[in-house]
Each structure stands twice: as C-alpha cells, then as structure tokens.
C-alpha cells in the first residue's frame, strides 16, 4: 500500500501539470460537430466451412453463408447535436442450424410427426451430392435418415437477423465534453434483444487527452429451439412410439434396433425445457487516448462485462462418453459416423448445451497509430481477454494504410488470435454425464487463428459525383481470409460507400 501511495505522489505533479489549460484564442468560434447529413452503406458476403458443428455435438458440417447490409445515417440537429440511425439486416444459410432437425425420408418429404415446420419443407433433399444414398424412388416412403455432414432442408436452415439502433450525442460549446445515448433492438428466429447505452467523453490538455466512460445494458430473450429428438421426447412425455419416433427404429452402436418401450434404448438425461429464457448483459467501458507527438497517438480501453441468464445455446447437442450411443438411419453408416462418408445416420443427443448462468469478462485493448509519412500509416491493435469460464486470449492486429495516389488507399492487414478453452468445453463424445455444465462448441475450444486481408478505398473529398442531392464521398472494398488451426476457415468480402448531403 505504501508503494502505491509513493507512486501516486511521484506521478501527481505530472498529472496536475497536464491540466493546465491554455486559453483558447478562438473561443468565440464554434465549429459544427457534423457539417452535413452523412450516409454510410455497407454490404458483406461471408462464407465459412469446417468439421466441428456445435449443433451436431462438435462434429459435422459448419458450412454457412451470410449476406448482410447495413445503413448508418448521421444527421446534425444543430451545431452541437447529432442524431444517428443504424440498421442492419443479415440473411444466413447454415448447414449446422438446419440440423436442428437433420432427419428426412430418403427420396421423399421429411416429417411424419406433428404439424411443425418439418412437414412444410420442400420435398427431396437436394442440397448435397448423395454418394451413397439409396432412393426408394417413391415420395415419402424411404427410410428415415440423417447426417451431421450436410445440410438438411429444415426451416432452421435459413434465417434473417435484423437490428436497429437510434443514437444521440451532444457536445459542449468548447467541444471538451461529449454526451451520448443509444437505444437498440435486434431479432432473429430464436433471439430478441433490447439494449440501452449512455456515455460521456471528456477531452482536456488542448484536446490531446481523452477519457471516456460508457455503460450498456442488453435485455435479451431466447426463443429456444431444441434438437428435434429432445423436443419430441419432452413433448410426448418420453413415448418413443409417438410423433416423430412413430414407426422409426432407434439403433444401438451395433446397428440393431432397440426395444423402444424398454430401458435399453435412447433417452436424454434431462427431460425439461428451459425455464428462464432471459439473457442480460451489463457492461462498463473505460477508454483513455493520448496524443504522444505530432505523429503518434495511443488509446487504451477496457470493458467489464457481466452476463446473467441462460448463457448456453439450446440448439447445440452434447454427447457423453459414459452413455451408450443410439442412432436413427442406416446402420451401415454407423462405423463412419465421424466423417463425411456417413450420409445416412444420425446420433441422438444425450442433452443440449448447459453453461453457468453468469459470466464475467474483462478485455483490455490498446491501439497505437503512427503516421510514418504522407503515404503510410502504421496501425497496431492488441487485446488481452480473460473471463471466469477460463478463456484467456490474445489478439494482435496490424494494418498499413498506403496512399497509392491522391484518391486511392490500400489497406493490407493481418490479425492473429488465440484462446484457451473454456473449462466446460470438451470434444464430441468426451463429456461426462455427471458434469453440471458442458459444451462441444468449438468456438469455446483452444485454438489459434490467422486472418489476412486487403482493402482498397477510393475517396473524393470534393464529392463531385452526385446521387440525387447526395455527394458521393468514398467507396471501399475489403477481403479477408480467416483460418483456424481446428480446420474452420472463412472468407468475407465487404463493400462500403459513403454519401454526404449537399447543403
């Protein structure tokens, strides 16, 4: 304790000296915070693939494609105040999500259970190239099969996520104090969110130094979607001759049909749905920025995030090592269950993912930007992350904006990421059924990832080209390739434009 007091007293004169503010000779002139209405439009296409789908217990296709579009409009209300509107819509198609219900009839329509989404899906599975599937040739009469290695035609295969945010900021006359607030809403088929945020930014030392404090809360709610076999089991009270299971054999590890009325057949270890569907997030963000010289500046920031509620994803299956395995589909595919050769059998889940109802996250980040010369800027970013689920990670990012001409800038960049595994993570068929919490979501596993990217931006500061009353300010095109050492890889292409409303 004495040491810290000593340190504080040593540094105190420097801190106090920094607060000596020079009189501003231009204190009668107040520059507008935002001169004109600005509109930013951003679109992206994302595609990934891998072999560790969480919905199918840590194995299976992670094929996913997503198209997203965002519009951000900033409107100056007066010299001090700005209103912003931000909206995003995203449409994704996922093999993994489709396998909430992976079952279908060979050569025919899926579903012989209750009147749910299964019965309204289109006939015939045509998404993947069936190398071994035997078609009965008759609609709806083939055996019920499934596989974690390709997409089913389930309704959960595709979904739309939409969000909107309204923001307001007010700057003091001297522009040394900025207050902001925002309200957000988002929704997708299994999740809705309402968010609020407040923030204050304080500049001093002739605006060379900046402190920021921001608080956010999100009140989110799951609309839980469960693996079809677990959902059906709970709905029918454990009767394996009703609903989806009517007329379907449940096979043991040797491919022999089990007696579904006996104890020697499949059943999940829990038989209840989620009670508390809330998922709330509270965060406090601190930031500090400092201009170090005419060419160098640094910022350091941290978030303290507390999450409470149902933090697991009920879509994600878990399989236990200490429980026998049971399947629906072709017995001949069981030996190949964990690879792509399996195109006809699906293992019934032992449970869905369960995680603690609270999580504390503390990331620390820093940016250091150096203006090398009029052509090149060197940008670095580092983050250390730690949470009480035992995940610790490092993120390191470099970007080198290069002005190749008056109007064009290139943005080569590289990002490295690594993390330790969450203490509740284990691979497919590695969990023990006596555990309270478990996940086979490889997003929470131990891995490292590299991301390489390149971007190009065109800027016309005079906005000579017009679209109606809006001057075209810039466009940008960015490509990034992401690769994990667990096998997941992804491509993302983004295209953005900016317009400014002429006065």
């Amino acid at each position: 304790m004495k040491k810290y007091v000593t340190y504080f007293l040593i540094f105190l004169p420097f801190i106090l000296f920094a607060q000596n503010k020079e009189e501003d000779n231009n204190n009668t002139y107040k520059k507008r915070v935002l001169e004109n209405v600005e509109v930013d439009i951003l679109t992206s296409f994302y595609a990934q693939d891998g072999d560790n789908a969480a919905v199918t217990g840590g194995i299976g296709s992670e094929n996913l494609k997503d198209i997203a579009a965002n519009i951000n409009i900033s409107i100056p209300l007066n010299a001090d105040d700005v209103f912003t509107f931000d909206a995003t819509i995203s449409d994704y198609t996922s093999a993994s999500s489709s396998n909430l219900n992976p079952f279908y009839k060979e050569g025919g329509r899926n579903g012989n259970d209750d009147n749910d989404d299964d019965d309204r899906r289109p006939q015939n599975k045509t998404i993947w190239n069936a190398k071994t599937a035997a078609s009965s040739g008759n609609n709806g009469t083939g055996a019920t099969i499934g596989t974690p290695w390709s997409a089913s035609s389930g309704a959960s295969k595709t979904d739309i996520w939409a969000s909107g945010t309204l923001g307001y900021s007010h700057s003091s006359d001297d522009r040394d104090n900025i207050y902001n607030a925002h309200l957000s809403f988002s929704a997708e088929f299994d999740y809705t969110s309402v968010g609020l945020g407040l923030g204050i930014t304080k500049l001093f030392n002739q605006k060379n130094t900046e402190f920021g404090l921001k608080g956010n809360v999100y009140f989110d709610t799951w609309n839980p979607q469960y693996p079809t076999e677990i959902k059906t089991y709970i709905k029918t009270g454990g009767n394996l001759n009703r609903d989806f299971f009517n007329g379907i054999d449940i096979l043991d590890q040797n491919g022999i049909p089990t007696d579904k009325t006996s104890n020697n057949t499949w059943k999940p270890i829990h038989n209840s749905f989620i009670d508390n569907k809330g998922r709330n997030t509270y965060s406090l963000s601190l930031s500090f920025s400092q201009i170090l010289s005419k060419k160098l500046q640094i910022s350091i920031f941290s978030d303290i995030v507390m999450q409470k509620g149902w933090l697991a994803n009920p879509m994600q299956r878990v399989y236990f090592a200490d429980r026998p395995n049971y399947y629906v589909g072709r017995a001949s595919d069981i030996p190949n269950y964990t690879n792509y050769k399996n195109q006809g059998v699906f293992q019934l889940a032992d449970d869905y993912e369960r995680l603690p109802d609270n999580r504390l996250k503390i990331p620390f980040g820093a940016r250091l930007h150096y203006y090398i010369n009029e052509f090149i800027v060197f940008k670095t970013y580092y983050r250390y992350y730690s949470d009480d689920w035992n995940i610790k990670s490092h993120t390191l990012n470099f970007e080198l904006p290069i002005k190749i001409s008056e109007k064009y800038t290139l943005y080569p960049n590289y990002r490295f990421y690594n993390q330790t595994a969450a203490k509740y993570f284990a691979d497919y068929e590695q969990h023990n059924s006596t555990s309270s919490f478990y996940t086979s979501d490889f997003d929470l596993s131990k891995y490292n990832a590299n991301q390489f990217g390149i971007g190009i931006k065109y800027t016309d500061i005079f906005t000579k080209k017009k679209v109606w009353k809006f001057g075209f300010k810039n466009w940008s095109l960015n490509y990034n390739y992401y690769k994990r050492n667990t096998g997941l890889y992804a491509h993302i292409i983004s295209f953005g434009t900016k317009f400014v409303l002429d006065k």
Binding site: Y7, Q206, T209, Q307, Y371, Y381, R383, N478
Partner: protein, 71 residues
Amino acid sequence: MKHKIIITSLLLLASLSSCVAVKEYEKVNINDPDMSLTSRKETKFETTFQVYREGASGANGGKSGGGCGCN
C-alpha cells in the same frame, strides 16, 4: 504481481497526459482519417463474425456479448 503491473501502468498512462500538448494547427497528421483511434467502419461485419466465432469479445468497438446469441 498482475495487480501491481496494472496499477503502475494506469498511473504511468495518466501521467502521459502531461507529456505533450500538440497545438490544433500542428495536428494535421494526427487528424488524418487513417489515424483515427477506432477500427474502420468498413470492418464492422468482420468484427461481428469474430464475436460469433471466438470466445473473446469486447475492447474493440464491437459487441461484448449482448444483443446477439453470440459469445
């Protein structure tokens, strides 16, 4: 040990505010758009997919876990 490093670093950083007072007319380079101490707007969707695919989040201007069924 970690606490000592963090507290010492915070004190050092706070004292950095005394080191430099670059005048407004000297901030031509600092005010370059590429020198902004935030991630580029064009990387918004990259940050989003990283939040979904990685266990870590926050301290980057993106989501920190709320507002989505992500990590």
